[in-house]
């Protein structure tokens, strides 16, 4: 399942969906709001395009790393320290594929999925800069 939602993420259900007979390894990435002197975080998405990109990244990861299952849920809206931002759950026959597939997906999301974060601090808000470089974003 690939999704963008306001509600919290049910990691347990994602893991159970990835537990298929041909899988020997499940790797979960759970990105959470870190206590970096922030109070809250506000996330915004270009939803239709972000979903398409998540599907594309999931499909490419599935193919390149022979993944048995891929589940991605990204949250938007107002989040506080400790809240889940993003969960990626993948399974594969062997651990290397599961780790590498998971990493491929998170790096793809950071570089290509139109979602933005604003850190809300006591002294105001600050948009988080895209990580890769100033030309990142969706590949044409």
């Amino acid at each position: 399942m690939i999704g963008i939602q306001r509600e919290d993420i049910d990691l347990g259900r994602m893991i159970e969906r990835a537990r298929v007979p041909e899988a020997g390894a499940i790797v979960v990435f759970d990105g959470i709001v870190r206590d970096d002197d922030i109070q809250e975080m506000e996330l915004e998405a270009y939803r239709e395009v972000a979903l398409e990109e998540l599907e594309r990244i999931a499909e490419e990861a599935r193919r390149r790393f022979s993944l048995a299952a891929v589940e991605i849920v990204h949250r938007i809206g107002r989040l506080k320290v400790g809240d889940n931002i993003l969960a990626i759950v993948v399974s594969a026959a062997h651990r290397s594929e599961a780790y590498e597939g998971s990493r491929f997906i998170i790096e793809g999301i950071k570089a290509h999925v139109p979602i933005w974060k604003k850190e809300l601090r006591r002294d105001g808000g600050r948009w988080v800069e895209g990580e890769a470089n100033t030309m990142n974003g969706i590949e044409s």
Binding site: Y46, H112, V113, P114, W116, E129, I138
Partner: protein, 92 residues
């Protein structure tokens, strides 16, 4: 001819989430973005350099596909098009 321009993140804060622009036949994506930006005071300098080019980091999409700045100067809009303008993404 109606064209939608959507803004995200700090561009949304500057211009609002979306503007409907009345486009003339033959107008390019870049011309539409320029007019949309001009709807706000100081809007122009948010997206454009003094020499009139889009700032390097500004990302433009046309109906959900990214377009290079050079192409945005060439592609003409059509009825019902959606243009999106946003800063570098920071998901995850």
């Amino acid at each position: 001819m109606k064209v939608r321009v959507r803004f995200f993140a700090r561009f949304r804060e500057a211009f609002g989430p979306e503007l409907e622009v009345d486009a003339i036949k033959g107008e390019t994506l870049l011309e539409i973005v320029r007019r949309a930006a001009s709807s706000k005071r100081d809007g122009y300098s948010t997206l454009f350099e003094e020499d009139g080019r889009l700032k390097r980091f500004v990302i433009v999409m046309h109906n959900g596909s990214r377009v290079e700045h050079a192409d945005a100067e060439q592609i003409s809009v059509a009825e019902g098009d959606e243009i999106a303008v946003f800063p570098p993404v920071a998901g995850g």
